[in-house]
Symmetry: C2
Subunit: 234 residues, 2 copies
DNA sequence: TCGCGATGTAAACACCGTTCGCTGCTTGGT
DNA sequence: ACCAAGCAGCGAACGGTGTTTACATCGCGA
């Protein structure tokens, strides 16, 4: 591994600058209105110069997407591990709340990663976005495994065997029952529905402050799998 | 009310044609890539001509949005009322499944109405999109009221009082407990999370056929409020 | 020091949404 | 039956976009 030359360093800096400026533009005007020419102008560059760093506007957006995914996953993991000694129910609640909080505070970035997909485009299963998606889900999973190991995970009476679910369970933890994997998926998707509605403004007709409502829903979500935060060991 | 003149009829027909062509373009290339010039060309019109029917591209998209909302609500209501004599649990399952099915079969339209919002734009509370949103939610609500009246709705032990929730409950049915309103909102948002993930391809890493998984999740969703479809009166 | 590849630029291309001024045609009233 | 008014539609243009191309310039390894 050769020492990074001066030019390499400059290139890395410029690349970072481009992403920083693009991100701030994204936050202001949204992904749809993000303009390469405006980004270039803010950098004091010509529009064509950007093409030395990104093949296309889509490539730039893809980079922003994976970065945003990472920040979301970071936020969740940080909340999850803030108090490692806390009860697993409290840690899971903190993780869910962090997911919601990040989305509400960064609606543009959340929309970028979880919003309307481009019709023709299918993310390659090994591509950066797929990896990042699984990382977010993976941030929740250990807590479910832990709660299951403690015998505190309420599981549905019957669960039809599903190959995809079985594969996912095995991937999460050896010997993990598919029902636990279903719980991970279930809580994640349900959390996501609430968060999407709130972050995208589809709950605004309910009232301006939906934070209390959201927290209530999160508690109900956990109660359904038998976990009750804030009660020592609920 | 004067009889519609010939010009009125032609105008209505053209307006319909514009929306039809736009919709098919939307389904092909997505909302972001929908081009007025392409729509005009497909109609054998000049681009400027479209402006006699819609003030702007956004106005056209708004019309498409409200139409899509209506079709979604139609699909849900049709499934709900397909067998009015059926048990309420079965009818609710049918309604939820219709919501999912419509989204999966029309991802572009679903994305249009529930996807990434425009950053500056806030839908006016009395605007057509807000009305349409509530109509979709309103399609589910009567079933919850019915199940509650039959005493078959499992309610969470405790539910913190929330003014927005209380207002919503009163709006749905006089004397309805806020907990039931919370159930409506809860089931709706959770269903939505599952559907968004599936329709937007965020579950594709799980496997290609997520239909079985989705149906399973719907059943779990209903089980959580005490309803079990397909069992006479579960 | 030379030469090459990387960096950046200006100009152009094709497309976009939108506006403006104009031509006909439909319509309601005389 | 005719005429003025309004509506539908058009071509041309404007300012914007992403992207490509040909050309200059600079940093670096040989």
């Amino acid at each position: 591994m050769p020492a990074p030359t001066r030019r390499d360093r400059l290139r890395a800096e410029t690349l970072d600058e481009i992403k920083t400026v693009s991100l701030s533009q994204l936050r202001e005007v949204g992904a749809a209105q993000l303009s390469l020419r405006a980004v270039a102008a803010a950098l004091g560059m010509s529009p064509a110069g950007l093409y030395r760093y990104f093949d296309s506007r889509d490539a730039l957006l893809t980079a922003l997407i994976t970065d945003a995914f990472d920040r979301l996953a970071d936020a969740v993991e940080r909340a999850r591990d803030a108090d490692p000694a806390a009860d697993v129910a409290d840690r899971l609640f903190a993780a869910l709340a962090a997911y919601r909080r990040w989305a509400v505070e960064h609606p543009q970035e959340f929309g970028l990663i979880y919003g309307t997909p481009v019709p023709g485009y299918a993310a390659p299963p090994d591509g950066p976005t797929s990896v990042a998606t699984r990382r977010v889900g993976g941030a929740f999973a250990p807590l479910f495994v832990e709660a299951w190991q403690q015998g505190r995970l309420r599981q549905p009476d019957e669960i039809a065997p599903d190959p995809a679910l079985a594969r996912y369970a095995a991937e999460l933890h050896p010997g993990l029952p598919p029902a636990v994997a279903a719980a991970v998926l279930g809580v994640w998707t349900r959390l996501h529905g609430l968060v999407v509605f709130e972050a995208f403004g589809h709950l605004r007709w309910l009232g301006h402050d939906t934070a209390a409502l959201a927290e209530q829903q999160l508690l109900l979500l956990l109660a359904e799998i038998g976990l009750r935060p804030g009660s020592g060991a609920g």
